[in-house]
Each structure stands twice: as C-alpha cells, then as structure tokens.
Amino acid sequence: MDHTSTFERILRGILLALVVLFFMFPIFWILLMSFQTNESILRMPPSVFFTPTFDNYIALVTGEMRTAAGSLQLNFMQNLWNSVLLSTTSVAVALVLGVPAAYAFARFKFRLGEDIAFTLLSFRFAPPLLVLLPLSLYFKSLGLTNTYIGLIWVYQLICLPLILWIVRGYFEDLSPDIEHAHRIAGYSWFQTFRKIAVPLALPGIAAAGLLAFIFSWNNFVFALVLASADKQPVTVGALAFVTASGIQYGQIAAAIVMSVIPTFVLAMFAQRYLVEGLSLGAVKG
C-alpha cells in the first residue's frame, strides 16, 4: 500500500538486528567465556571456536580453584545461597506485611494511611545511601551488622514500598461490592480478604512479588554497606571475587552467568507479569 515498503522493511530489519546485537552480544560473549579456559580467553584474536570446558563451573560449585600456584578456596556458592535466602525471605516478609497494608490503604480511606503512602512515595526516589549510612551506624550499635535478620530488614526498604504501591493499585481496581457481597454472605473481614480480595488481586501480587524479588536479587549497595563476605549476595560477592581471584576470568564469567540465571529465568517465564509490573510500577502504582 505504500511505495517505500521494501526499502523500509530492509532498514527496519537492519536496525532491529543492530539492536539485538548490542543488547544480546554481552550476554552471549560472557556465556562463551564461562566455558573457556584462561588460555583460550587470553588468546588473540578472540575466537568463538574453542573446546568448551566446565572447569570454571566445577571450580565454583566445589569451592576449590586449582591453579599452578596451588589451590584457592572460593565461597561463591555461599554468595549464591545468600542471594537466594535474602531475596526470597525478604519478598515473603514483604508480601505478608505489605499485602494487608496495601489492602488497608486501598479500602479504608484514613488519614494515617494517606500520610504513610505519601511518605513512602516521597522516599521512593531518595538516594539509598542517605538512609543506609546512618543505618550502618545504628546497625553497629544494635549488633545487626552482617546478620541475615538485619539485611532482610533493610531489604524491606526495596520490597515493601514496591508491593504497597503496585498491590494497592490492584485492590483499588476491584469492585468493593464483590467484597461487600461476601461479607454479607456471612464471612468475616479476614475471610473476605483471603478468599476474595487476594485471589482477585493475585496477578498484581505476583507482578509486585516478582519485581521485588528481582530488585532484591540485583541489589548491590545495601549488602556492600551492611554485610561482610560470608553474608554477601552475588552482586557484592562477584565484585570481591574479581579482586580476590584477579586473573581467573573464566570463573568470573561463570560466576556472572550463575548469578544472572535466576532473574533471566524469571523474566522468561513471567515476562507478562514483569512488563505489567514494570510499567505499572512506573506509570501506575
């Protein structure tokens, strides 16, 4: 229907290919590196043809790195475990505390609720170190530095506002009449919350939980400030790993691959929720 279509289609194709190249190449390349020995990585010019090896992954999983100079202990698996523990527990805690609060904000219009919502919103964009640096001093005097409890607590700074905002929006979109009907049918407030409000807002809760998990997993600065090696998640651990291992590039690449796999898998399986959560998180909730 329009005479530029062939030329335009080719141009679009080229542009799209460039876009995919720019955004996918780093992932592709690090993945390749993770299956290479150091010798193969250091060979110039770089090549995509090499004999793949699982040594990097084996070294990370067994926690022992054999080099010419002897063997070196690695605690990357500990970091990975810390990430899993911190992210899942934080999101679970935030859901248990945040979903009822989001419901209260959505359903009961009360002054305190508005004030809390406003405060959280205005700090949503505050620099994290503003709160973290004084908190690190408090943590020291409370004995919370480098504890899981302390970290899960500060991770609520990421998870809770996110869940409150997104889930609140979903609750507000539900017709209150449905809940009223359930109450009148003879159910207590809590039963109605559990059997009507939560199931109907489940897509929103899932999106918020997913987003909170990803933000927790990817967080760097909280643990950098408040945790030392044995409690650090992969983000901080990988950086320390670079400093410690220095030239074990293949293992660094393998560590990065293992660190991003959980969020990548989540993104692939739940991309619909994710996109919704991201755009709602910014545009709506």
Binding site: H180, A181, A185, Y187
Partner: protein
C-alpha cells in the same frame, strides 16, 4: 415487634448530608420499596442496613436486636447488588452456596439449599458455569439466588432488574412478588421505576433530599401524594400541573380565564395553589360544562392512548384514555374536559406540600 427498624439514620460526608434522620419499621414478610430518582442514596441506605457502611448517627434493629455496631456477617441479611457483584473466580454453584458455607452447613444441606433456590430461579442448568459465562439474566438470577440461599430474615434488593433486558424484566416483575412472599423475609427493594414499585410493594418509601417524603401503600402514594415531587414521580405520563388560584369557596379553580369546578375543601378558598391533574382523571365530554380544549396530538402508549390537549387559554395538558374507549377523538377536534375529583391534587406553590387530605 418489627423485623427491621431503623430510626433517625443519618450519614454525612463532611458537610454533605446523604441522609438526615431516616426512620422506618417493617414487619416480617413485608415488602417495602425504597423509591427515588437516581443519586438520592437508595443504594447507600441498603449498604447501611447490610452493615458495609456505617451511619453517622441513628440505630438499626433487626429482629429487635440493635445491630448498628455489628459487622455485616452477623446481621443475617441477604443482598442482591445492582451490578450483581458475583464472585468472578467461583462457579454459580459456589456463589450461591457461599452464605450456606459461611454458616458451616454440612454438604447435604448446602446441596439441597443450592438446588432449591436454583430451581426456584430456573438456573439449575448453569450452576457449573463461571459468572463470566452467564448471560445478564442468569447473572441477575444467580445474585438473587445467592441472596436467598441462606433464608435471611432481611432481604435487600438493589434495583435487581435494572441491568437486565426488557423481556426478562417484565417476566421477573410478575415472578418476583411470589418468590419474595415465599421467602418470608422482610424485603427492602430499591428501584427508580414506579411501575415496579407499585407492582411489588406492600409499602413504598419515597426518598428525596435525604428524607422519606412519604411512606405508604402504593394506593396512598398514588391517590394522595404528599408533595408535588411525589405526584410527579408516580404516573406515566406524569401529572399535569398549573399554578393558579382557588375561588373563595374552594369549589372552583381558574384555568387561564375559565373557571372549572373541582369540589375541594372550602378552607383552602382564595389561595394560590399548584393544581395537579392526573392524565387518567381527564374525562372528555361534548357538553359545555367543562374546560373547552382542542386535541393537538394523539399517541398510543401501551394499553392507553395519550392525548395532548390545549385549553382555550393556552394551557397544554395530557389526557390518558383506555385504548378500548369508544370514541378516541381525531386531532383538531374541539371538545371540553372535566376532571375526576380523585385525580385532582392541590399543592402549596412554595413548599410543594399537599394542601388537602
């Protein structure tokens, strides 16, 4: 002792008053229609009684017990919402069963309770469907079935026929009274359709301006409307009105220069009034005693025929005659009309209050 009573019920949002001192008492098995135009807070009143909203002042009693502070689940009421408010993630069966399950009924009781109301409402063949798979009529019946299932003492129906098509509305208007009588519950029924109100109600409570302007049987409301507003709400076509003055003896009223006999109380003699004449009360005659008028237009309306008439003085008014009437005049026919006394009402021009018994 009344089954449902509320007194002095008020609700205000800031300075905006939805209701101001509503009181009503209804007997067991009585059907009370809450009637009013949209935006008068009829639905809100039902919510207050159900307990999902709280009144600013006033008390609500159900079966003699003060329930004002009691949460909705303990009030033993059933409610059907105008928008149905079915639980979207449950089948029609589970929707209907929900009040029975809430009362911890055993499985057999639930089963028999659901099938009883489902048969009654002719939805037993769609019980397995999710709400989104039901037609509007089926949704409405499911909502009604859910409200009836646990045999509540109080049944609150919020304009249940509003969102269904005309045919079903007509059918349900015939079925509902029997159904509601059978339930034995005290029914508060909200509608803004006066015919529905007249067809269903033992009593009608007319809500306007946050107050009940009149509470009475359909006959009372129709035959003796307490205000001009109520008179206008009931009747189709609506009551004819004219601002005028009564003769000194109260027997005559001036209609654009022509005195017409209406035989009303003498004590009102000589004052300014609003004359209201129901179109059904307008009688056509060929004799010279009545008000001379010309037929301007003739329109059939259901089983009646509506005539637009213009008096010699230029007052336009409507007459409604049975279609079966022997001689429906042609347009431009000259004739004269008289008014049947029971269809003539006088109201105060400033307050709109009814001026006679």
């Amino acid at each position: 002792m009344s089954q449902l009573a509320f007194s002095n019920l008020s609700k205000a949002f800031g300075s905006f008053k939805v209701f101001d001192g509503l009181s009503l008492a209804a007997e067991a098995g009585e059907i009370v229609v809450i009637f009013g135009s949209s935006g008068t807070g009829k639905t809100f009143l039902l919510r207050l009684i159900a307990g999902v909203e709280e009144p600013t002042t006033g008390t609500i009693e159900i079966g003699g017990r003060d329930v004002t502070e009691i949460p909705p689940e303990q009030r033993n009421v059933g409610m059907a919402f105008q928008n149905f408010a079915l639980f979207p993630h449950m089948s029609a069966r589970e929707n209907i069963a929900s009040p029975l399950r809430a009362a911890h009924a055993d499985e057999a009781t639930v089963e028999s309770g659901v099938s009883r109301v489902a048969k009654l409402l002719k939805i037993d063949h769609v019980l397995g469907h999710a709400p989104r798979e039901l037609s509007n009529g089926q949704k409405q019946r499911t909502a009604l079935a859910r409200a009836l299932a646990a045999e509540p003492r109080i049944l609150l129906l919020d304009d249940p026929l509003r969102n269904v098509d005309a045919k079903l509305r007509f059918e349900m208007r015939l079925e509902l009274p029997r159904l509601l009588r059978q339930s034995g519950a005290t029914v508060l029924y909200v509608t803004q359709d006066y015919k529905e109100a007249m067809a269903l109600a033992d009593r009608i409570a007319v809500l306007a301006g946050g107050r009940f302007v009149q509470v009475g049987t359909p006959e009372e409301i129709y035959m003796a409307p307490s205000t001009l507003g109520v008179a206008k709400l009931f009747g189709d076509p609506s009551i004819n009105t004219l601002e005028t003055r009564l003769s000194a003896d109260g027997m005559w009223v001036a209609i654009r220069g022509k005195d017409i006999r209406i035989d009303k109380a003498a004590k009102l003699g000589g004052r300014e009034v609003i004359l209201g004449v129901r179109p059904e009360a307008v009688a056509l005659t060929q004799s010279q005693v009545g008000l001379p008028a010309t037929v301007m237009a003739v329109t059939p309306l259901n089983e009646r025929v509506v005539l637009l008439l213009e008096s010699d003085g230029g007052w336009e008014f409507l007459a409604s005659l049975p279609s079966a009437a022997a001689d429906i005049p042609e347009p431009n026919t000259r004739l004269s009309v008289t008014f049947a006394a029971e269809g003539v009402h006088l109201f105060d021009p400033t307050t709109g209050e009814r001026l006679h018994g």
